[in-house]
């Protein structure tokens, strides 16, 4: 993990006060609500290393764990592009980052343990709280702030009303709390600072274009249309298409969920209006529909309006940074329902997670930490010196995702499978579709607009993966129905 070295960071190691740099009022960030620390940190004067001694002294009954072992595991489980493990010298940012990692891991371990160590976790989290900040400092410090918060949520969540609310609704709950202008601004920033959104959209769109070159009617069923921006570039491409019929008719059916409350960047109806207006502005024949899911988010293919002769495309964007979390059952219902429709193409974009292994909660926790540190680094590379912009994106999108993700790992023992849905589609009988040279080329060019640290890998003929440095982050894969002759 690259450390940002040009941010002045001041931390008051000896203060017992809450970090004043947290200015927002999001409910998740209410440090004040937490209980006072078990230990009065004022009584410890100097080196934070004393903390480790404290921990060890607390563990004289043998139920604890050795931080040395933690440190060892850290250096094994963290990948090669993390900071160099060096001696803990004061003022060395790398070691500070490493210390934070140690603490986080210790807290995770404590949380995963029995009740006795939960108090230990609380202590560690309090300590962490003092060292981190949501808005200031290095990437690691801000990242650690959100992870600390998420862990604290887990601590309180099993029982606490407020915390529980945090966990189960996770990002969705948070999202509703943010004012929609925050959302918009953060979304705009996200798009400018990073290629995540565009990578998913453009790769899918290019595949759609290639699969429908001779079609007069195209029908796309979009699992999560959000604000609809994916279709802007598709429409533009359709309008300027030289080969094939001129101006094919595009129809988009957006899957909507009942009772999801007000979407943060606007409702589906608004999205529909916007898309209609945009299509009109460029002369693209277009119509927009909605298809409601049941209250338990079951997808009923029969509820779709289909037209003879149209090319049916299933578009499934998951896990883009600004997206809400979708329950696996919902996604499964959608994709299996889609199979019965014999779609021409299925475009799937999902998060790429590290291998599951049997590291348990702590292992998954560390993997998640690695994942998000790569994301943070990539954003920072896209927007150097713009801490506040970063902080906004982190607060609005990443923080809630981290909290939700950790909660799911904690609850179920695992997050989504590595490229889970991709594998799932394969086992369901969907056939992979090759990603063309042009598509791959487009992805590479797109990344080139951002930063050298991004890379695109062709992990399989039908799958492109976007990564930052050595960490794979987002996977785009293309499929067709089992009976298709694509």
């Amino acid at each position: 993990m690259a450390m940002a070295t040009d941010n002045a960071f001041e931390v008051d190691f000896y203060s017992n006060s809450t970090t004043t740099s947290i200015t927002d009022d999001s409910p998740a960030c209410t440090w004040n609500h937490w209980g006072s620390p078990v230990v009065d940190w004022n009584s410890f004067s100097s080196d934070p290393d004393d903390f480790q001694d404290l921990i060890e002294s607390m563990m004289d009954d043998g139920t604890g764990f050795e931080l040395a072992r933690v440190a060892h595991e850290t250096s094994n489980s963290v990948s090669t592009d993390t900071m160099v493990v060096d001696e803990e010298t004061n003022g060395d940012e790398d070691s500070k980052g490493l210390r934070l990692i140690h603490l986080l891991m210790a807290a995770a371990e404590a949380l995963a343990g029995d009740n006795k160590s939960r108090e230990l976790a609380r202590v560690i989290l309090v300590r962490l709280k003092e060292l981190v900040s949501h808005n200031d400092g290095t990437n690691m410090e801000r990242l650690a702030a959100y992870f600390t918060e998420a862990l604290h949520g887990l601590l309180d969540g099993s029982g606490g009303g407020h915390g529980k609310h945090l966990i189960t609704n996770g990002p969705h709950h948070h999202r509703d709390e943010h004012h929609h202008t925050d959302m918009l601004a953060a979304f705009q920033l996200l798009q400018d600072m990073s290629p995540y959104v565009k990578f998913g959209h453009f790769t899918a769109n290019q595949a759609i274009l290639e699969a429908t070159t001779h079609d007069r009617r195209i029908h796309i069923v979009d699992y999560d249309v959000m604000e609809g921006i994916q279709w802007a570039s598709l429409m533009q491409a359709l309008v300027s298409r030289k080969d094939g019929p001129q101006a094919p008719h595009l129809r988009i059916t957006a899957i909507s969920r009942s009772g999801s409350g007000r979407r943060s960047i606007g409702t589906i109806q608004e999205t529909g209006r916007r898309l209609v207006a945009f299509a009109a502005s460029i002369g693209q024949p277009f119509s927009f529909h909605q298809c409601r899911l049941d209250s338990d988010e079951t997808f009923r293919p029969s509820a779709l309006k289909l037209v003879r002769g149209e090319a049916l495309i299933i578009n499934c964007m998951l896990h883009l940074p600004h997206f809400s979390y979708r329950e696996p059952d919902s996604v499964a219902s959608f994709l299996s329902g889609a199979k019965t429709l014999n779609p021409r193409l299925v475009t799937l974009v999902e998060e790429e997670v590290g291998p599951i292994g049997d590291g348990g909660f702590v292992g998954r926790f560390m993997d998640s930490l690695h994942h998000y540190s790569a994301v943070y680094d990539s954003l920072e590379a896209g927007f150097p010196m713009q801490n506040r912009a970063l902080a906004l994106v982190e607060r609005v999108f990443l923080g809630p995702r981290i909290a939700g993700s950790l909660a799911r790992i904690y609850r179920t023992g695992r997050e989504e499978e590595s490229c889970g849905w991709s594998k799932w589609l394969a086992t369901m009988g969907f056939k992979p579709v090759n990603i063309s040279f042009a598509n791959h080329c487009q992805a590479k060019l797109l990344l080139g607009l951002f930063n050298d640290g991004y890379r695109v890998e062709e992990l399989a003929n039908h799958r492109l993966v976007l990564g930052w440095k050595s960490r794979r982050l987002l996977s785009a894969s293309i499929w067709t129905s089992p009976h298709s002759d694509l």
């Binding site: 200015t23 004012h179 929609h180 202008t181 925050d182 918009l184 601004a185 953060a186 705009q188 920033l189 798009q191 400018d192 600072m193 565009k198 959209h201 453009f202 769109n205 604000e227 609809g228 921006i229 802007a232 570039s233 429409m235 533009q236 491409a237 300027s240 960047i265 606007g266 608004e270 916007r274 207006a277 945009f278 009109a280 502005s281 460029i282 002369g283 590379a381 896209g382 927007f383 150097p384 010196m385 713009q386 801490n387 506040r388 912009a389 902080a391 906004l392 040279f437 042009a438 080329c441 487009q442 060019l445 797109l446 080139g448 607009l449 951002f450 930063n451 050298d452």
Partner: protein, 330 residues
């Protein structure tokens, strides 16, 4: 295969199975199997241009096969002749094959380049389209906000000039938008958005130009101006001039938005600043300072301060990119 060698005495080497003539200068007979192995080895090594006699020899692992044999065979192979034929360096067929092969390679390379250029061009247009769409979202939000702020105008402390419907939002911008909010707003010139009946001409857009690595204002330049601001003169937001048209379309009285007294009127269009909310102007200001002040930004002159990253005071004429980089035209 080697017809005119047939009258030479041959013998098969016991160890390697190679067929050599028994001349004083032994010539190797390239049998079908041997040639196949040769082709396999060459393929393994990445093609006739990448393989060298030495590496081929290693990969083939055939006893008795020497560099001398391989050199000449490889040369002939590279010329693209079909196997099993006698290769005569001076034959017409060789020349033709050689040329044909070279032309094919050339065509292939050109085809790829062309395809890549096409992809690049399409990518630019697609990014533009996203930008336009984003703009429509933000306008919508601004309008909504203007409505909300109106409602709250009565009770809010300070800051509101309270003149007319559309002013409510703007005074916020004055103080709040001081820091350059431009970098993220890579919207193409507004008139390209047909919604308002503007020109459909798709110039190369600023966002693309800014982000193209080939330009001076490189996206990832170290100049710390944010992604679109590397260096002077490259980061102007097109909205500087396009929004005047826009505002008129919206029916906003231009008079109350004269550039002299309202330098940040365009803020209305660009974005609801991150946290306009009815509960606090102070919060708005603090969050609008999201963009840390960039060292290169000039603050002289009201107009220049708006969203330009360049110290140059000139305003681009509408409908044209402020900086002409012809090579970027598709």
């Amino acid at each position: 295969m080697n017809s005119h060698h047939d009258n030479r005495p041959m013998c098969v080497q016991p160890d390697s199975g190679l067929v050599l003539t028994t001349d004083p200068k032994p010539r190797l007979r390239w049998t079908v199997e041997l040639h196949d192995r040769f082709v396999d080895a060459v393929t393994q090594l990445g093609g006739p241009d990448k393989a060298t006699p030495k590496t081929i020899m290693r990969v083939m692992g055939v006893k008795g096969l020497t560099l001398y044999h391989l050199k000449s065979h490889l040369q002939k192979f590279r010329l693209g002749k079909q196997p099993h034929k006698e290769f005569n360096d001076h034959s017409m067929k060789d020349a033709v094959a050689h040329t044909w092969y070279a032309i094919r390679m050339q065509m292939e390379v050109q085809r790829r380049l062309h395809e890549q250029l096409e992809v690049q061009r399409h990518l630019q247009l697609r990014i533009e389209a996203q930008g336009k769409y984003m703009q429509s979202i933000l306008e919508r939000a601004c309008q909504t906000l203007a409505g909300e702020n109106m409602a709250a105008a009565g009770g809010a402390a300070g800051g509101y000039k309270g003149v007319g419907n559309h002013r409510g939002v703007l005074p916020h911008m004055d103080g709040a938008m001081k820091d350059n909010f431009g970098p993220t707003l890579n919207f193409p010139p507004f008139q390209d958005l047909n919604i308002y009946g503007g020109d459909q001409h798709l110039d190369i857009q600023h966002n693309v130009e800014r982000s193209s690595p080939s330009l001076d204002g490189h996206f990832m330049s170290n100049k710390r101006h944010g992604p679109y601001g590397g260096g002077g003169g490259t980061g102007k937001s097109p909205l500087i001039w396009s929004d005047e048209l826009r505002l008129q379309d919206l029916g906003m009285a231009p008079s109350c938005l004269g550039p002299q007294d309202d330098p940040f009127k365009t803020g209305v269009i660009q974005i609801g600043p991150p946290s306009i909310d009815t509960t606090g102007i102070g919060k708005l200001e603090s969050l609008s300072d999201i963009y840390d002040t960039k060292p290169g930004i000039s603050n002289d002159g009201i107009d220049e301060r708006k969203f330009e990253l360049s110290p140059k005071p000139e305003r681009p004429s509408p409908r044209r990119a402020p900086f002409q980089t012809e090579r970027m035209n598709p």
